[in-house]
């Protein structure tokens, strides 16, 4: 018996299409994540029409959409959305910028850290909503109290992440700064800030979430505009559709801000391998 005869031919080498396949899979997953909320809406719509769920609490998506359209055309929707966005914007600046400066300074200075860290640790666990009455007392019922509420919410995650961000910077980079005679401001600008930026972006994203919660809460008390007011007012006049419009708008703002911040992060932190 010849040896050759016993040999089975090798299967032809499999084509290398791994990359293409994983790309297809990724696209498939993206489709799935778009499809699942749509499927939920369709299911919801059908359930309402069949009378399975109570339309008084869960109005059909189509009727909520009709209300949204009507409010958009009357300008009412924009009025409330604009009011909330402006408060969010100012709250972000008022809370975020000092948080950034203080957080980075704390990361660079052990003395400052020793002084401020216990203060942050003591005040951070207080629910921000619990100090709402105090804020109203100090800042009154006007715009200032809303802005301050958002600012408080943004301050903590940004400051705490900035501290961590600076502490996570490899010490060798600070040695390089000293070796090249960098001034305090140069160390801040060329090492501490860019080095801590990935953490700071995480803090800002967390701050967006907290800011949205707090803007909604603070507009429910003593405001005449804003999405929080829209939701609260809808409860008082039992306009459930308008309530859903307010919730939808807050969700939409959160969604868009997250994407905006992700894009900003890719632009500001191009040096982190994706």
């Amino acid at each position: 018996m010849s040896v050759e005869g016993a040999m089975t031919p090798l299967p032809p080498p499999a084509e290398d299409r791994l990359d293409e396949e994983s790309l297809l899979a990724a696209q498939g997953y993206r489709l799935l994540s778009i499809a699942s909320p749509l499927a939920l809406l369709v299911l919801w719509e059908i359930s309402v029409r069949l009378g399975v769920v109570d339309a008084r609490f869960f109005p059909a998506p189509s009727s909520v959409a009709a209300t949204l359209w009507a409010m958009a055309r009357s300008g009412e929707l924009w009025l409330h959305t604009e009011a909330s966005l402006i408060r969010l914007f100012w709250g972000f600046l008022v809370g975020g910028i000092p948080a950034l400066g203080l957080g980075i300074a704390m990361g660079l200075s052990p003395a400052l850290r020793a002084i401020v860290e216990p203060l942050i640790a003591a005040t951070y666990p207080i629910p921000k909503s619990a100090i709402m009455p105090l804020i109203l007392l100090i800042f009154g019922l006007g715009e200032a109290s809303k802005v301050v509420m958002v600012a408080i919410g943004v301050f903590f995650p940004v400051a705490m992440n900035a501290v961590t961000g600076v502490l996570e910077i490899n010490r060798i980079y600070l040695d390089v700064g000293r070796n090249y005679q960098a001034s305090r401001w140069q160390v801040f600008r060329t090492i501490a800030l860019p080095g801590a930026l990935p953490f700071i972006m995480t803090g800002i994203k967390l701050g967006v979430g907290l800011g949205l919660i707090l803007i909604a809460i603070s507009e429910m008390l003593g405001a005449r505009s804003g999405l929080g007011y829209l939701i609260w007012n809808a409860w008082e006049i039992l306009d459930v559709n308008a309530m859903y419009v307010g919730l939808f708008m807050i969700a939409l703002i959160g969604f868009l801000l997250t994407h905006l911040l992700n894009a900003l992060e890719r632009w500001l932190v191009p040096w982190k391998s994706p």
Binding site: D175, R178, Y180, Q186, I191, P270
Partner: protein, 267 residues
């Protein structure tokens, strides 16, 4: 200042000592090291791990204070920075491009843009990094990153260059390549270099003089002149009979220290 060889001294260490207070008492890292380094020379310090050679370099760099003694650097030009250090391991900023890293020192000093362009362009060219000027460090190999660190230090145009085992993390082939490139760039201006290494090979390949340090506490045990002419080829050097002899001789001094360092190292 003048050294024994007659050349003016660029760096002088006078009775340098560094002691740390630890829980187990006072630890002497460096004990009474005095040395004069001739202007324009490539001075190597070789010693076992933990002999305080990195501490010594950090003191010369001004990153640490000596417990006793002094460091003197003869300054030729007050407007230039005293030193630039090439660190062990990754020290280039991951958030800056290769170009921005190499320009770091010049920008901090507020040097004119046109001069920065010229100087940085030159050193990126000399280190073979021109094509990677816009790349970020995470896109580079270890050898490339160390080239950026070399370009950054040379571009800053300091009075003296300090190098802390800059090639110790590289594989042997890359190390040989970078040693040759370093020598080539150094030949241009022959700035005084203080180079720390634990590799006897490297000390003999690069140095004009080699100081051997004792294991902890670090003291100057012997200083040896390297006879090879410049410019050197780090490969051709190895065919020289004196190369092997020199390494053998230094090992004679070092062996005892390495063994002592191992015996004393915490398990």
């Amino acid at each position: 200042m003048e050294t024994a060889s007659g050349a003016p001294a660029k760096i002088r260490l006078r009775h340098l000592a560094k002691r740390f207070r630890t829980r187990r008492g006072v630890l002497t890292a460096i004990d009474d090291v005095s040395v004069e380094i001739a202007s324009g020379s490539f001075f190597m310090i070789v010693g076992p791990s933990g002999c305080g050679k990195t501490t010594l370099l950090r003191i010369v760099a001004g990153l640490e204070e000596p417990s006793a003694g002094a460091v003197e650097v003869a300054r030729a030009n007050r407007s230039k920075p005293v030193n630039a250090m090439i660190f062990q391991g990754d020290s280039i900023f991951p958030w800056m491009t290769v170009w921005d890293n190499a320009a770091y020192g010049l920008r901090l000093r507020g040097v004119a843009k046109s001069e920065i362009r010229e100087v940085v362009g030159h050193y990126l060219d000399r280190t073979g990094l021109t094509r990677f000027a816009d790349a970020y460090p995470h896109q580079l190999s270890g050898g490339m990153k160390q080239r950026v660190a070399i370009a950054r230090a040379f571009a800053n145009d300091p009075e003296i260059l300090l190098m802390d085992e800059p090639f110790s993390a590289l594989d042997e082939q890359n190390r040989t390549l970078l040693q040759q490139e370093l020598l080539r760039i150094w030949e241009e201006h022959k700035k005084t270099v203080l180079f720390i290494t634990h590799s006897v090979d490297e000390a003999v390949t690069l140095g004009d003089r080699i100081m051997i340090m004792t294991a902890q506490p670090g003291r100057a045990k012997a200083t040896i002149d390297v006879p090879f002419a410049r410019p050197r080829s780090v490969i051709e050097l190895r065919a020289d009979r004196r190369y092997g002899e020199l390494i053998y001789r230094i090992w004679g001094d070092l062996r005892e220290e390495v063994q002592r360092a191992r015996a004393e190292a915490p398990a």
